[in-house]
Amino acid sequence: MPSDEATIAGWGRVSAPGRELRSDDLVRLSDGATLSRGLGRSYGDSSLPPPSVRAVAGTVLGDRVLGFDPATGRLRAEAGLSLDALTRMLLPRGWFVPVTPGTAFVTLGGMVAADVHGKNHHVDGCFGAHVKSLRLRVADGRIVDCAPDREGELFRATIGGMGLTGHILEVAFRMTRVPSPWILGESVRAMGIDALLAELEQSSAAWPFTVAWVDGLGRGAGLGRGIVHRGRWADPSEALASAPAPPRSVRVPFDLPAGTLNRATVGLFNAALYHRHRGYVRRRVQSPHRFFHPLDRLADWYRLYGRRGLTQHQSVIPQERGPAAVRGLLELLARRRACVPLCVIKNCGDEGAGTLSFPRRGTSVAIDLPIDDRTQGLVDALNERVMELGGRIYLAKDAFTRAEHFRAMEPRLARWTAVRRRWDPELRLRSAQSVRMLGDPA
């Protein structure tokens, strides 16, 4: 491969030869295209073209709002509209998306394709639960409108379908009215995994937004120690008088040398983060940008991981497996002396409508891992454990899961594949990930 060939990469830097073709006319752009891509925030190869194709359709210029009804909150927009732009537009008017992932730099199309979840999954489900209808360009070239009661199978297969059932052109969903543009947040420290999971569970009974940051390098009694964050929209009486400042970010100007994030540096950082948070409940009024998208303040933060980049292993462990199962995953990381710069745990609510959508009732464990020669072995080991526990993984984060592992975790795959095949018998719509994991033709 000539070195000057253009490559396209996921957020974690996994790359493939190819380029992104952009147009503001998504209808024309998607004609004959193999895959659409939004802002490229999926960590692995979800938004990369299959090996035989050297281009993906970049949707970010298709970003028009096609309607917003302030009486109901119903909004329809082209799929390339970013959550960041939408928030800047409508938060000042008292509206927010019903579900936000951990970054605002995602497109509506990407939010549907990955069926993103957020800190409120235990009460509000995934983004897909709030989607009213979609306009797709399906594999044979037709433009199809679908909704729960109209081409319902296609609709459900598309929610969480990683863009493989059709190019998402337009998304209609309902925004949520918020009492103020501020979040009332609390955080509380937990000394070990059992305390942390208990705190998370209790917090979730009373708070719509919950998540736990975990020191992935805690050992012994400190295994799984961390900080539980919880929040809700502040009432006007609690909110600050001013509007929250629009989000700003600093860039990471260059790739840090590989190995900058190692067990020693990350251990120090995590210990500092853990101990700086004292033992009492901290309460504060926060900007929603900080609360929901803390990492957005550091643009291009993947560069902290150096040239080889990072991957994330995010799995959900069924509720009935209990805290011991989560502890088991953390012990596995400790045993293998894995470097885990970031570990986030969140309890999930019931499975949504998306045929292949990730969350289910249980505990989601997201583990960031710098890519090195041991990554494949570690991901395999984690996946074997997840399979034993009856859990599953999140495709939007994945770059290393083996096809046989994925199939074993996903009894729903056959049902989803049947719908996909009906709309795309020749498998024209593919991604590098679908080739790797679903056995699509390259």
């Binding site: 253009a6 952009r22 006319d25």
Partner: protein
């Protein structure tokens, strides 16, 4: 302020129209595709929190007979014309143009002759209303003839010269001309080309252009660094220009 925009459905025009409605200006859209116009009007309605979508009328730079009716309709819907902004243009790679002389002729006609024709209609109406601003997107490609943009650059060079002439002739009568010279900006026009260093993005270009309109600056480079780049390029000797490929 109110503004008529030709070409506001995409690229820099889209960004400019959004910025204008978000700060409370009234806009009217001209463009060739009715569906596209309607979608952009709805986008602007939501972004500007307007009670109704901005008015929009068909106008095609390739069809000069559409110019006068479109501007008349716009003037009627706005009450009085204050600002006319032209971001529309034709673009094709030099290779495509060389392969098809008719395509080259039509690009030169649209980007120069027809754009001048549209501006003449706009100028008369602005002057009749007692003055106003005519803001037209030319290009850094018009600053120096270069091998990748032989035809496009020639048309834009003519357009820049025309706009400067208008400024000299009508400034005292209250016509402000703003000639925008974008460098490489990441829009659908340039999609598929590898962005050079200093590539701009439409939102920042839009902010710069709105400032230039507000203070009546006759020539504006966007991103600003292109002013200095083009100063250097204009002074390169011909022997060098023959050899380089930019």
């Amino acid at each position: 302020m109110n503004a008529v925009l030709l070409g506001a459905t995409r690229g820099m025009g889209r960004a400019l129209a959004r910025l204008l409605v978000e700060r409370g200006d009234t806009v009217c859209l001209l463009g060739r595709n009715p569906t596209d116009l309607e979608r952009s009007a709805r986008d602007l309605q939501v972004r500007g929190a307007l009670p109704a979508p901005p008015s929009a009328f068909p106008c095609d730079l390739a069809r000069p007979e559409t110019f006068a009716p479109a501007l008349d309709a716009a003037a009627e819907s706005l009450g009085r014309l204050e600002t006319v902004i032209v971001t529309a243009a034709d673009f094709a790679s030099q290779a495509d143009l060389e392969a098809d002389p008719e395509r080259a002729r039509s690009l030169a006609a649209i980007d120069f002759a027809n754009t001048v024709g549209f501006c003449e209609h706009a100028r008369r109406r602005l002057l009749a209303a007692g003055g106003g601003t005519l803001c037209v997107f030319s290009s850094v490609a018009g600053d120096r003839a270069r091998s990748p943009v032989v035809v496009y650059g020639a048309a834009k060079a003519g357009l820049s010269a025309y706009l400067e002439g208008l400024d000299h002739r009508y400034h005292r009568q209250g016509l402000r001309t703003v000639c925008v010279k974008p460098g490489f900006v990441r829009t659908s026009m340039t999609a598929g080309l590898a962005p050079p260093p200093f590539a701009g993005d439409p939102d920042r270009v839009a902010r710069r252009v709105v400032r230039a309109i507000d203070c009546g600056r006759p020539v504006v480079y966007a991103p600003p660094v292109w002013r200095w780049i083009m100063l250097a390029v204009r002074n390169l000797p011909r022997a060098v220009m023959r050899r380089v490929e930019f």
